[in-house]
């Protein structure tokens, strides 16, 4: 067990590599109750999020549709990354990181009170992520019977709320299909046990990290924080600068976008044996950088990671691993999606 944002969480229930493969090949589950669901309710909720989020919730027109976004400081630094789900015109649900939840809530409340939006953290809910090609089929029969049809019909990146308690979304942090299920905390142990009986493998933080890295997904605190912008974090695809919408951090991003000392976050593939780890130094023709996340990829059987380095860097680089320079190559994430390698190794 390790401390993670104030929560005691298991690194693994057994072999972390076997847990990883269970998710890529069939189905695994993660207790992610540390993540904080936050309900925003009121007529002003959409205007609030248009202002608070770098991605554009104006694009959420179908009820249930979810969006990944960063929430920025005025200087463009990343306060947190989150999922926003549009439920109706007076109700959006956010899911934010554990370690940042308190500061997120303070920031959101400060802006929400001006337009009369209620901010309600849902600490009463547990969240279980069930992920893998077999995850949905194994989960559906275990959901409350009345909820199965709607959950089974969910499109990718859609969610559905049932009576303000059970909430099912077709989202995740693994690069596989699956559900994230929020439910009353007192129902969580029974739900977990039923999933285990259905053959879903319990998985810990260790497998969660190798899966998200293979999927090319950032981890807040490692790959971005308040000192960097989303543009320097491989997240330009989540920032909508076009148009007249004025979100917090927009003008700072526009100024820093073309800066001479611009940096980027790139994928990194180690070409020899060894394991990339955060904070290792990286040497490129365009200048030095640093590994922000690194691990061993059980799917590729190579070491992979993310590196922040000068934007002009490309191709071959070297990584300082325990005093030796090991060749590596910059690649475009994701490394793995839906069980299949997405890069040449």
């Amino acid at each position: 067990m390790v401390d993670f944002g104030g929560w005691d969480m298991p690194v693994g229930y057994g072999s972390q590599i076997e847990e990883h493969h269970a998710v890529r090949r069939d189905a695994g589950m993660f207790d992610v109750s540390h993540m904080c669901a936050v309900d925003l309710r009121g007529a002003g909720v959409r205007p609030l999020l248009l202002r608070l989020l770098a991605n554009d919730v104006g694009r959420l027109t179908a009820p249930g549709k979810a969006l990944y976004s960063c929430m920025l400081r005025p200087d463009g630094g990343v306060i947190d990354d989150l999922i926003a789900c549009y439920l109706d015109e007076r109700w959006f649900r956010l899911v934010v990181n554990a370690g940042t939840a308190d500061k997120d809530l303070a920031w959101i409340k400060e802006h929400a009170k001006q337009i009369g939006v209620a901010v309600v953290p849902r600490r009463d809910l547990a969240i279980v992520a069930v992920q893998g090609p077999g995850a949905r089929a194994k989960t559906l029969p275990i959901l409350p019977e009345a909820d199965r049809a709607a959950a089974g019909a969910l499109g990718v990146f859609f969610g559905v709320a049932f009576d303000d308690e059970w909430f099912v979304s077709r989202t995740g942090y693994t690069g596989e299909d699956g559900f994230e299920v929020a439910l009353p905390a007192e129902a969580a142990a029974g739900f977990w046990g039923a999933l285990r009986d259905a053959g879903v493998a319990p998985c810990g933080l260790g497998a969660r990290d190798t899966l998200r890295l293979e999927a090319g997904m950032n981890l807040y605190g490692n790959d971005m924080d308040e000192t960097v912008t989303p543009l320097e974090s491989g997240l330009a695809w989540t920032v909508v600068l076009e148009g007249t919408r004025d979100f917090i951090g927009k003008s700072a991003l526009e100024k820093r976008r073309d800066a001479r000392d611009a940096r980027k976050l790139a994928g990194l593939l180690l070409l020899e044996r060894g394991v990339l780890r955060s904070h290792q130094k990286v040497f490129s023709a365009a200048g030095e950088g640093e590994v922000t996340s690194g691990t061993y990829s059980p799917t590729l059987e190579r070491s992979i990671g993310f590196v922040r380095l000068p934007a002009a860097a490309d191709g071959a680089v070297e990584v300082d691993i325990r005093g030796r320079r090991i060749p590596a190559r910059l690649v475009k994430p994701p490394f793995v999606r839906n069980g299949k390698p997405k890069i040449d190794i």
Binding site: V11, G12, S15, Q16, I17, G206, T210, R273, G274, V275, R277, T295, Y296, P298, R322
Partner: protein
């Protein structure tokens, strides 16, 4: 929780030693060490002929979680590194006191040895959180 065979000698840094019939000493890491490291993905073993002094870093075991040095408990010459670990580092997870051995060493006569422990002594180190 972890296994500590009674017939081996141990170090505080979680290596084990087994004296073979020909007088060479087989060295590996303990069950407790492999459990702490988790799934091993990369092991670097020393080449035959390398001279080691007790306390030298002689191998690297790297898991998904962390990299760790293995220290030679004895002074002597490496007779063999376990070549099987190059392709199957998980042998250390599966059988730390058997197929997961890391190196065999021919101790030098009169060579220094690091302080070693019997099974009970090592068990106390593990119990103390070492």
């Amino acid at each position: 929780m972890s296994q500590i065979p009674a017939d081996l000698r141990y170090t505080k840094s979680h290596e084990w030693m087994r004296t073979l019939a020909d007088g060479t000493v087989e060295i590996g890491i303990t069950d407790h060490a492999q459990q702490s490291l988790g799934d091993l993905v990369f092991v670097e073993v020393p080449e035959a002929g390398r001279q080691l002094t007790a306390g030298d870093a002689c191998a690297v075991v790297e898991s998904v979680k962390a990299a760790s040095d293995v220290y030679s408990p004895l002074t002597g010459e490496v007779v063999a590194g376990n070549a099987g670990l190059a392709t199957q580092p998980e042998l250390i997870n599966k059988d730390p006191f058997g197929e997961g051995w890391i190196l065999r060493l021919k101790p030098s006569a009169g060579g220094a040895a690091a302080e070693s422990l019997d099974a009970a002594g090592y068990e106390a180190v593990v119990a103390a959180g070492g």
